[in-house]
């Protein structure tokens, strides 16, 4: 890895987003202290203080692992008490703090405290892993693909849950994910990584609406990339308009082609238009309710694709 320079503000919900092998997990493990940077490989500061050479338990961090890494031989309560015991918290304090941690992640202590991790569902394990890390009141919570093992419904629910915890506790969340939709939904800011580098850092809106490179434009959401002079342009599918071939358009940017495919996605329809280039142009149209309001488009139909100059993003090479 090289060229990874990040500043995460206190209390921020920060995502490290990228394809597998881009170095996002390594970045997280560097912050946690499970990996060490090269001697001349830069520094990591938490709250202004260098943590280089410090073991993970000497850093004010909590960590939620990809498959939760709950101790299978311990009960839910014992899992959560583990860190308190290792930090020599007074015995009489431990039990109330465990209960409070369970409340925090909305698990009923009476029902779940005595269970083993093997007796929990995926979402419940996720909550126990969160409680185990949060009970130590870390300054930063590191989450490695925390929702990867959950199904879609549960994932959406846990996204909101993580957001809520971040807001109410004021703890900085740094989360690793390869799911761009998840990163957009949860984060205050996102660092997009590729091949061991940070390509772009910004708010979800900045990343989506002002992608800096072709990689970012294509990795987050979908983008039509056109070769313009002097640089490439990216236009989001929903920024494109589709009109019939004979309609007069005032727009400066017009492409002529034929419809190759119409994809029904529920809230939108994607129309793939062959404009003679190797890749089709993708146009997103809001679904008007195709059963009651049939679309005027069908495959093979010649059409024009247009956009306003302000809808195109100039990309860096």
């Amino acid at each position: 890895m090289s060229g990874v320079s990040l500043d995460v503000a206190a209390g921020e919900f920060f995502s490290l987003l990228g394809p597998s092998g881009c170095g996002k997990t390594t970045t997280l493990r560097l912050i946690a202290g499970f990996e060490d940077p090269d001697p001349d490989g830069g520094t990591i500061r938490i709250l202004g203080e260098s943590v280089i050479g410090k073991r993970p338990y000497q850093r004010p961090i909590g960590m939620v692992f990809q498959n939760y890494a709950l101790f299978p031989h311990l009960s839910v309560a014992q899992n959560i008490a583990f860190g308190l015991e290792e930090h020599r918290v007074a015995k009489k304090e431990i039990s109330p703090r465990v209960t409070r941690a369970l409340e925090l992640v909305r698990l009923d202590a009476a029902t779940y405290a005595a269970r083993r991790p093997s007796e929990l569902s995926g979402g419940q394990r996720q909550r126990v892993a969160l409680a185990r890390a949060l009970v130590l009141e870390p300054k930063i919570l590191l989450l490695d693909e925390p929702l990867g093992a959950l199904d879609l419904q549960l994932r959406k629910e846990m996204q909101l849950e993580l957001r809520r915890l971040n807001r109410t506790l004021g703890i900085t969340f740094i989360i690793v994910t390869h799911d761009q939709e998840e990163a957009l939904a949860m984060s205050d800011r996102i660092a997009v990584m590729s091949a061991g580098r940070v390509v772009q850092v910004g708010s979800p809106a900045e990343i989506y609406e002002r992608p800096r490179t072709v990689f970012v434009a294509r990795f987050i959401g979908e983008a039509n990339v056109f070769d313009g002079a002097p640089a490439q342009l990216a236009v989001r599918p929903e920024r494109l308009s589709i009109v019939s071939a004979d309609a007069a358009t005032g727009d400066a940017n017009v492409l002529h082609g034929t419809i190759r495919e119409i994809i029904f996605l529920g809230e939108a329809l994607h129309i793939l238009v062959n404009v003679g280039a190797s890749t089709d142009v993708r146009v997103a149209v809001r679904n008007p309710g195709v059963l009651s309001t049939p679309m005027p488009w069908s495959t093979g139909q010649p059409v024009q694709v247009t956009w306003q100059p302000g809808d195109a993003q100039v990309l860096e090479p």
């Binding site: 946690a32 499970f34 073991r55 993970p56 338990y57 961090i61 909590g62 960590m63 692992f65 990809q66 498959n67 890494a69 709950l70 101790f71 299978p72 031989h73 583990f82 860190g83 290792e86 930090h87 083993r116 991790p117 093997s118 185990r132 890390a133 130590l136």
Partner: protein
């Protein structure tokens, strides 16, 4: 479902013919009057069973159990670090495992004789120590209880290493990282995560060392001389020179009883195994 029971047929037949039947023969022999030329007379007697409780034999049993327990604990202390080393060695893992299994390629008898050459008064260890001037007269090592212990431990260490290695390999490294993030130092991680989660492997290894150590007679015969008599030697003697087959059978059952106690202890530990899956 019913058909799958048929698959147990060969193993069941094997166990019946070569385990249950001989065990039954031994059980009846233990209750028959002794024939001086070996073998038994018809009829029933409890003399052999009551002889088991003579102090002489109880002392042999106690010595055997104690020596086997010490051998088991020593083997565990030696094997756990070895198993950890093998699991951590990514590049040399195959080679190290090969080295652990290598002794199995040599006959136990040959290895025990080799130990004699190592330990005897004119053996390699004494010669080196004398050459270095550390000792003047050779140390008496062979034909002592220590030599028997040495033979048992070196002979059975692989049986301990392999099950511990197997359970260590299954241990998710993320669990240790989670423990570290929660504040556990390396020793605390071992105590609270590694040890409890590898306990089934440890229990299996202990049984694999304790049981054969308890029944061994070759090691104590060759390395202990006639001085360290274990229950295995006693059984062997009853069937050979003493020609007291019924008493030998009775002794064997005593041995079996101790082994069963060990098995039950292991079973008490293995429910933990079922909660290992996550």
């Amino acid at each position: 479902m019913k058909r799958s029971w048929l698959l147990l047929g060969p193993a069941g037949a094997w166990l019946a013919v070569f385990f249950a039947v001989p065990l039954g023969i031994m059980a009846t022999y233990a209750l028959r009057p002794r024939h001086v030329l070996g073998g038994v007379y018809p009829g029933w007697t409890a003399t052999h069973l009551s002889r088991l409780f003579e102090p002489l034999y109880l002392a042999v049993l106690e010595r055997s159990v104690v020596l086997s327990l010490i051998a088991t604990v020593l083997a565990l202390l030696i094997s756990f670090p070895i198993a950890i080393t093998i699991v951590r060695a990514t590049r040399w893992r195959a080679l190290l495992l090969f080295l652990v299994v290598l002794p199995f390629w040599t006959s136990f008898l040959v290895r025990t004789y080799a130990t004699i050459f190592l330990l005897r008064d004119t053996g390699a260890i004494n010669q080196v120590l004398q050459f270095l001037g550390i000792i003047h007269d050779p140390l008496r090592m062979l034909y002592t209880p220590g030599a028997v212990l040495f033979g048992l431990v070196t002979g059975f260490v692989p049986f301990m290493v392999l099950p511990i290695y197997a359970s260590l390999e299954k241990l998710d490294p993320a669990l240790l990282e989670a423990a570290e993030a929660l504040g556990a130092t390396s020793w605390r991680r071992f105590l609270r995560v590694t040890w409890p989660l590898t306990l089934p492997g440890v229990a299996a290894g202990c049984l694999l060392v304790f049981v054969p150590a308890l029944g061994s007679f070759l090691t104590s015969d060759l390395l202990g001389g006639a001085k360290v008599e274990l229950i295995g030697n006693l059984v062997q003697n009853q069937f050979t020179s003493a020609r007291n087959w019924p008493f030998g059978s009775a002794l064997s059952f005593l041995l079996l009883l101790v082994v069963m106690i060990g098995m039950l202890l292991k079973l008490k530990l293995s429910p933990r195994l079922t909660t290992n899956d996550q």
